[in-house]
């Protein structure tokens, strides 16, 4: 697959919770090794859309989808696809850092161990922690509890944990919403760094963050008739300086509704 070809695609994707449609007919291409931001007001379906990419919505009993979600051209919802396998290739980082109540080392080693990793585990852990710029801060206390780390460090640890299983895509659902401004900037720097090797999709409420870190931005909206409708998708530079749809303009300038 060429680098410019999409790593993730949705085609006429609809997501329902029971009878209620919460993502409406979204068709989108996510380019490899780029950061794509999904923005929109609360309840617009952006997190639901994000969770389609590693089949997290499967965990909600009433959730069903129509249309397609493709990962490197393969249908993620085909009957023979194992969702657990998908989650190694498409990792996820959540709003609040959620390290396991284990040591720093064991947090990062958790996925590879379950995967039956046969290589040099300490080296893999070090490499993953270096990638998230955490190694120098924690190398002398790898055997201490991850819960003793600061919030920003915990979030970078969660990213390191996701990286340890060598994913191709990292999904981030409001990854900085519980972090202070400095820790937020550290995570943003890290995202830019990681985008050289990974494709990142980030859901964020923070417009300035989306403008700072992302290459492309998708704006979703919920109206009375339709929830989770894609209003505009384009280069972030364009979206944040000169959006084409007046609803995008109203939202990003804070004059929504």
């Amino acid at each position: 697959m060429q680098p410019s070809e999409p790593i993730l695609q949705t085609k006429n994707l609809n997501v329902y919770y029971g009878a209620k449609r919460v993502v409406t007919d979204v068709t989108l291409d996510f380019v490899r090794n780029r950061i794509t931001a999904i923005i929109g007001p609360s309840g617009c379906g952006k997190s639901t859309l994000l969770r389609c990419f590693n089949r997290m919505n499967d965990l909600i009993p009433s959730a069903t989808i129509t249309g397609q979600v493709l990962f490197e051209g393969q249908d993620l919802y085909a009957p023979d696809v194992d969702p657990t396998e998908i989650r190694y290739q498409i990792g996820m980082v959540f709003q609040r850092p959620n390290p396991f109540p284990k040591t720093i080392f064991d947090n990062v080693a958790f996925g590879p161990r379950i995967n039956g990793f046969r290589g040099d585990l300490p080296e893999l852990v070090e490499m993953s922690l270096r990638r998230t710029a955490l190694w120098e801060e924690v190398k002398d206390r790898l055997k201490t509890s991850a819960l003793a780390l600061s919030g920003g460090q915990q979030q970078r640890l969660c990213i390191a944990r996701a990286l340890a299983v060598e994913p191709k895509v990292i999904l981030m659902d409001e990854p900085c919403s519980s972090l202070d401004p400095i820790a937020t900037l550290a995570v943003e720097d890290l995202m830019r760094e990681l985008s050289q090797d990974y494709s990142i999709v980030i859901v964020t409420h923070n417009m300035q963050q989306a403008a700072r870190v992302s290459d492309q931005t998708a704006f979703l909206m919920a109206s009375q008739e339709r929830i989770g409708e894609l209003i505009e998708f384009g280069e972030s530079r364009q979206i944040f300086t000169n959006p084409q749809d007046e609803r995008t303009e109203a939202y990003i300038t804070g004059r929504f509704g």
Partner: protein, 221 residues
């Protein structure tokens, strides 16, 4: 209304910009009248009062930077603040040209003008008209009107060429008038630059409204 306070600040900024535009226009009128009527006191006042224009421009700059820092504007808001910064500079420079005409008038001193300044007055009327229309296009967010201002710069350029030709011919005929004719050449140059600044304002209006440049607007508007 969401962001009512920010909206008020943006409106206020535009008001301040327009009042800077008024000051500049008055300076242009006064500098040309003083030149023609050989009123050195008025010329001196134009030179002296340029400080007010400069101060107002710096205040606009500070207010814009405050809003950028505190409101983190995006899209049209961001473009309008950038445009205010640009236009404030253009207006301040136009004020400098009026000041320049005041200084030239003071240099001419008690000497009579080399010739009647009818063409120069035409140029100044056009330049002022372009200034006023460019600021109206800003208020109205009217790209067609802005494009028209941009197109009208040709008229001032043509007048400038005529004035230059005439003054050069005069200098060639009567070399002893070179100094006095040169003074008027400078005035013509200042007026021509004023019109250029007005076209720059028109360009900024187009950028504000469309996010694009003047070439993106066809001549019909």
């Amino acid at each position: 209304m969401v962001r009512a306070d920010f909206n008020r600040s943006l409106d206020q900024l535009q008001e301040d910009l327009l009042s800077l535009g008024d000051l500049v226009e008055q300076a242009i009128i006064k500098s040309m009248n003083a030149l023609e009527e050989r009123d050195l006191t008025a010329s001196f006042e134009v030179v002296h009062d340029d400080d007010q224009i400069n101060e107002k421009r710096f205040r606009l700059e500070e207010d814009s930077i405050d809003l950028i820092a505190t409101q983190q504007p995006l899209a049209t808001d961001l473009r309008s603040l950038i445009v205010v910064l640009h236009i404030a500079v253009e207006l301040e420079r136009m004020g400098d040209y009026a000041e320049g005409i005041g200084k030239i008038s003071l240099m001419i001193g008690d000497e009579p003008l080399f010739k009647p300044i009818e063409e120069l007055r035409h140029m100044s009327v056009h330049a002022r008209d372009m200034l006023r229309r460019s600021l109206k296009a800003l208020v109205d967010r009217d790209t067609a009107a802005a494009r028209q201002v941009w197109d009208d710069d040709d008229r001032v350029d043509r007048l400038y060429d005529e004035v230059c030709r005439e003054l050069f011919a005069g200098m060639a005929r009567e070399p002893q008038t070179i100094e006095r004719a040169t003074h008027l050449l400078w005035v013509a140059h200042d007026l021509e630059r004023m019109a250029d600044r007005a076209t720059n304002i028109a360009e900024r209006v187009i950028f504000l409204v469309t996010g694009g440049q003047v070439d993106d607007i066809d001549e019909s508007g």
